[in-house]
């Protein structure tokens, strides 16, 4: 056992490190493995379940009668069939836009107001919990979006066009990053989203806890930040382009097992 002055510590460490370290993808895989146990999304799931069952809003009602597509109150299995067409709103809706409908009709919240609220503020925080809870109730299930309704088919076609739509100062489209398999930005793998990228990858890995911000991101927030980095203008919360992309990616991911809520860089 030897005593080392502080200044010497760095040098020895560097020498050892150079000899032993796993660089690149192996190192990242090791890092991710260490974080698998203890995903803070658990905290959001618990908060979401409480919000789902709690009487809230101007009508002092819970969300327990919310119809997520499998009938009022059915949460299990609903997430892996979204986005889908809803007869009451005559619209194809994703999880977040459907939650807004329920928050408005059942609880009396102003859906348009929540859609305008910045992420991470006010009722948007409630939605972070709710998407974690609802998606967790389909954990392990396989994506199977309905495509029987003409509007669902239409949204798929439009989503495909949106996916390949190149514009902005960088000439980027979704396909710039997600059109080919095996690609990375820096060390970040980019799932190919034009076909099924596999279980728990791409569409099947959102919502997710973001380590960078310590927040739960649903698909709406994921797409919003994609468009930010695509250098596009701002997509409205629950806007048709976001729903259409959800349908396109979700239908392409048919059969993929959902691991949501996942944990992401």
């Amino acid at each position: 056992m030897k005593r080392i002055p502080v200044a010497g510590l760095l040098v020895t460490a560097m020498a050892c490190a150079l000899a032993q370290q796993k660089f690149g993808a192996d190192g990242i895989a090791e890092y991710r493995k260490m974080l698998e146990d203890g995903n803070p999304s658990d905290l959001f799931e618990a908060r979401g379940e409480e919000l789902w069952k709690k009487k809230r809003g101007p009508k002092n009602a819970s969300l327990e009668q919310c119809d997520l597509g499998k009938g009022p109150g059915v949460v299990k299995g609903a997430f892996v069939e979204l986005p889908r067409y809803f007869a009451d709103t005559k619209k194809v809706q994703d999880l977040e836009s459907r939650l807004l409908t329920c928050m408005e009709t059942l609880q009396g919240f102003d859906a348009a107001e929540i859609a305008k609220t910045p992420f991470g503020v006010g009722e948007q925080v409630s939605i972070e919990g709710l998407v974690a809870y609802v998606s967790a109730e389909s954990r392990g299930s396989r994506f199977n979006l309905p495509q029987a309704h003409a509007d669902e088919q239409k949204m798929y076609e439009l989503g495909k066009r949106a996916f390949f739509y190149r514009a902005g100062p960088y000439d980027f489209s979704c396909a710039s990053c997600h059109g080919e398999a095996g690609k990375r930005i820096r060390m970040q793998e980019l799932p190919k989203l034009t076909s099924d990228p596999g279980d728990g990858v791409g569409f099947a890995a959102w919502p997710a806890y973001r380590l960078s911000s310590g927040e739960m991101w649903g698909m709406q927030r994921r797409l919003n930040d994609c468009y930010r980095q695509q250098r596009f203008p701002f997509p409205g919360y629950g806007s048709d382009v976001t729903i259409a992309l959800g349908v396109y990616m979700g239908v392409n991911a048919k059969g993929a097992q959902s691991i949501a809520p996942a944990i992401k860089r």
């Binding site: 146990d37 203890g38 803070p40 658990d42 905290l43 618990a46 908060r47 310590g214």
Partner: protein, 103 residues
């Protein structure tokens, strides 16, 4: 009030492994807001664990512990049915105690 913790405690090989997730911002005091003002430090400073009511561990944390903190440790001799409770206190005077039964 702060959200509940998620505590899992599993007995095996004569000990119980305890895994805890806490809901907390763990603001460092090093960051600035959009207006350029320093966001004050706000973090858990003390964490303690009790096994069937008796304190078995005391920890102190700085703001370098990550947001929504995770903690794992093991209680020697704890078995299924025992109670593990965790308490945290932060520098704003907020605190939270939650309990789990060892499985």
């Amino acid at each position: 009030m702060a959200d509940p913790m998620r505590i899992r405690a599993q007995a095996a090989d004569g000990k119980a492994t305890v895994r805890v997730l806490m809901s907390h911002e763990m603001e460092t005091g090093q960051r600035k807001d959009a207006a350029g003002n320093t966001i004050p430090a706000w973090h858990i400073q003390q964490v303690s664990a009790r096994w069937n009511g008796a304190t078995v561990m005391n920890a102190q944390w700085g703001p370098a512990v990550a947001k929504n903190p995770y903690l794992q440790f093991a209680v020697k001799g704890a078995k299924a049915g025992d109670k593990i409770s965790i308490t945290w206190l932060d520098n704003r005077g907020d605190n939270r105690t939650d309990e789990a039964v060892v499985s």
